[in-house]
């Protein structure tokens, strides 16, 4: 059997046409990472550090936050960037360990499906949220519901 060994100095660069998706994934992980530092630590600070922290979390607290477009946009960015960053990271991890092609495809399909479902659910919750649902006990609702 004859074997060809490329000259060690041969150029290994192949020039592909079109965009390099892996490269843009690499850039996205870094850009979204920087953004997520602000979004996540802001989220943790407001929900766990201010006031009584975790003890103050309930429907009324979230209702108060989501009545402000600022927090709607904040949480929307957090939802999309964290999920897509995390899902793309999971894709990398699966590529590294799933040596069986079928297993890899199944696991990545599962991640993709979960991501699409949760992005849809999360976006709907933020934009169709009703802080004062009719018929709910007033003591569970944000205080501003009393005036409505």
């Amino acid at each position: 059997m004859t074997v060809t060994i490329d000259s060690p100095r041969a150029s290994t660069t192949k020039h592909h046409k079109g965009i390099n998706l892996e490269k843009w994934g690499w850039v996205f992980m870094r850009a979204s990472g920087v953004l997520l530092v602000v979004l996540i630590f802001g989220h943790l600070f407001v929900n766990l550090m201010i006031g009584h922290g975790v003890k103050a979390l309930d429907f009324a607290f979230v209702g108060g936050k989501f009545s402000d477009p600022f927090w709607q946009v904040w949480d929307m960015l957090l939802l999309w960037f964290a999920l897509i960053h995390g899902a793309n990271g999971m894709r990398t991890v699966i590529n590294d360990y799933a040596h069986n092609r079928l297993v890899g495809v199944v696991l990545k399909s599962f991640i993709l499906l979960a991501t699409i479902v949760l992005l849809t659910l999360g976006t709907l919750v933020i934009y169709t949220f009703d802080p004062c649902p009719a018929g709910s006990p007033a003591d569970l609702l944000p205080s501003f519901c009393a005036g409505v």
């Binding site: 004859t2 870094r30 990472g33 766990l48 309930d58 429907f59 999360g122 709910s136």
Partner: protein
């Protein structure tokens, strides 16, 4: 039919310039990403990334209860306030801190020649910032969790 031009060919090193002797290193010197301290931060980055992803899936699902009823949301978010979950939140924030600070280090190393050169120093700065983060968060959070 053997083809002379595709036979096994390796450029023979010139006798005048022998190849440098390859010495097995005593300890793994590693690369920028792997080996020694860098390898452990890579392992931790990966484990925390995957763990945070699974937490995020659950956390988006519990938020969809906002759209079900105040009672349903409060019942589930209430479980975040018990002492065991309170300790879990310490682990979560610690894991996010590791992933975020190490992610920022990776970004600095990738985009900045100075960061590449001083990546060990960046690792210690990251550790210091992580400890400061926990000193700021843990006592305050535990007081919230354990006080009634």
């Amino acid at each position: 039919m053997p083809d002379k031009s595709t036979g096994s060919t390796v450029a023979s090193p010139q006798k005048k310039y022998p190849l440098p002797k390859i010495v097995k290193p005593k300890a793994l010197a590693g690369t920028v990403y792997r080996g020694n301290v860098g390898m452990w931060s890579w392992v931790l980055h990966r484990i925390t990334g995957v763990a945070i992803f699974f937490f995020l899936l659950v956390h988006i699902l519990d938020s969809t209860l906002l759209r079900v009823s105040p009672e349903a949301y409060n019942a589930v978010i209430g479980t975040y306030k018990n002492p065991i979950m309170g300790l879990g939140e310490v682990v979560l924030v610690a894991a996010i801190g590791i992933h975020a600070l190490n992610g920022l280090r990776v970004i600095l190393v990738d985009f900045w020649a100075w960061g590449m050169k001083h990546q060990k120093l960046l690792q210690w700065i990251g550790l210091a910032l992580w400890i400061i983060l926990l000193i700021g968060f843990v006592p305050r959070h535990l007081i919230n969790v354990f006080s009634e």
